[in-house]
Symmetry: C2
Subunit: 220 residues, 2 copies
C-alpha cells in the first residue's frame, strides 16, 4: 500500500528502526517512552502503520518494521543525519545542538534539498557523531568500531563514533577537546572509569563509565 506518510508516522518508523537495531521486536512501551507519548497512543498508531504494511504487529508481542517500513525509516534517518552534518559543517553548529534542529527539519526538506546538501558535503558516509548515513539506496555504511569500554589499557585509539542520545555527554566531551577523529591514549582502566590522554590537548582526562560506554573507537 503506497502511502503518504504523516509527520507522526515518520517519527514512529524512525523510532522503531532505532529500537530494533538488534533485530528483535520492540514492545509498545519502549516506543511510548522514546516518543514521550502514552502506550495507548502507540497502539493506535501501530495499528495504522500495520494497515499500511509498514510494520508487523503481533498483538501483545511487539512490533517490527516490514521491508517498506525499513525503507521509509532509512529515508528519514538519511534526512536527519545529512542535516546534522550540514548544520555542523556548513552552519557551524556545535555537535550537541544539531540533533534538535535536524529532528524538526527532517520531515520537511525536499528530495532536492537532500541531494543538494549531500553533494555540497561530498556525499558523506558519517554524521558529526560518527553515525552512518544511509545512501539514497538505503545502504548503511559499516560501523565496525568496538566500544571503548572493551579496550584494555594500555592502548592508543581514535574516536570514531559517539552515542549522541545524551546531550550532556556531548557537551562534556567537547569541553575536554574530544570529538570524532580525536586520538587518545588509554592510560588506565578502573571499574567505574578510565583515564585517557587526549593527544591534541596533551591533557589527562578521567572518563566515567557512563561516558566510556558511549564511545566507539579504532585501535591504532
Amino acid at each position: 500500500m503506497a502511502v503518504n506518510l504523516t509527520h507522526s508516522m515518520q517519527d514512529y518508523l524512525k523510532t522503531i528502526f532505532m529500537l530494533t537495531a538488534d533485530h528483535t521486536r520492540v514492545p509498545t512501551t519502549r516506543i511510548a517512552q522514546t516518543l514521550n507519548v502514552q502506550p495507548a497512543s502507540v497502539t493506535s498508531m501501530i495499528k495504522k502503520l500495520a494497515d499500511c504494511q509498514l510494520v508487523d504487529h503481533q498483538s501483545y508481542h511487539g512490533v517490527a518494521l516490514t521491508e517498506s517500513g525499513r525503507t521509509a525509516a532509512l529515508e528519514m534517518i538519511r534526512h536527519h543525519r545529512l542535516l546534522e552534518t550540514y548544520l555542523s559543517t556548513a552552519l557551524g553548529y556545535d555537535w550537541a545542538d544539531v540533533h534538535e534542529e535536524a529532528d524538526r527539519l527532517e520531515h520537511y526538506i525536499s528530495e532536492e534539498f537532500e541531494d543538494r546538501i549531500a553533494s555540497l558535503l561530498g556525499n558523506p558516509l558519517y554524521d558529526p557523531h560518527g553515525d552512518p548515513i544511509p545512501g539514497r539506496d538505503g545502504v548503511l555504511p559499516p560501523t565496525p568500531w568496538p566500544c571503548l569500554l572493551d579496550v584494555p589499557a594500555p592502548a592508543t585509539v581514535t574516536i570514531r563514533r559517539v552515542d549522541s542520545s545524551q546531550r550532556d555527554a556531548l557537551v562534556f566531551l567537547s569541553s575536554k577537546g574530544i570529538t570524532i577523529g580525536t586520538t587518545c591514549t588509554v592510560l588506565k582502566t578502573a571499574s567505574s572509569y578510565i583515564m585517557i590522554d587526549v593527544s591534541s590537548t596533551h591533557k589527562t582526562v578521567r572518563l566515567p563509565n557512563a561516558i566510556v560506554q558511549r564511545l566507539f573507537v579504532d585501535q591504532i
Copy 2:
C-alpha cells in the same frame, strides 16, 4: 495574550500581512482564495486569531492585523525570505524554486538557524526576487522602485524586484537572462507589450504586459 502559534496560524498571519500591504482590511474570501481553503475555514481560524489578539475582526467587514499580529507575520516573512536567499545563494537553487521549499521550512527553523544563515549571507536586505527582508526588529528595507510599466521609452533601467507570485513569469525571465541586477534598455512601449534590450546578452526581448507589470526598476 502570549501564544504558541501553530503552523496554520502562522500561514494565516503571513497571508493577511501580504493582502493588507495597502493598509485596507482584507475580506475573508480573499484569504480563502490565497490559502486554498473554504471561506468557512477562514472564519473559524480568524476567530481564533482574534481571541489571541493577533487580528482585528469585524464580522462581515474583513480582517486586519494587530500590532502583535504584524510582528508575528514579519517574523515568518523574515524566515521565508532569508531561506529563499540562502537556498539561492548557498545551495544553488533557481529563483523559481526557492518559494516552495522556503514555504515549508519557514515554520520549522529555529532562531539560531535564522541567525546563522543571516550572518553567513551578510545580513541581506533583499531576497532573490528583490523582496525586502524584515530585520530582527521587524523593520522592512525600502522598496522605492517604480513598476516598469510606468517607465516610458526610451530608458535604461536596472531590474530591482520581481513579483514572484507566478512561477511561470520567473522561469520566463531567467530563460531570457533577466534577473535582479540585470540592466536593460527599453526600446519601445506598446499597449500590450514592450521591447527591451538585455545588456548582458545583447538580445532584444519582447515582454508582454503580464510580465512588465511584475518588474520594478531603477532608472539610470
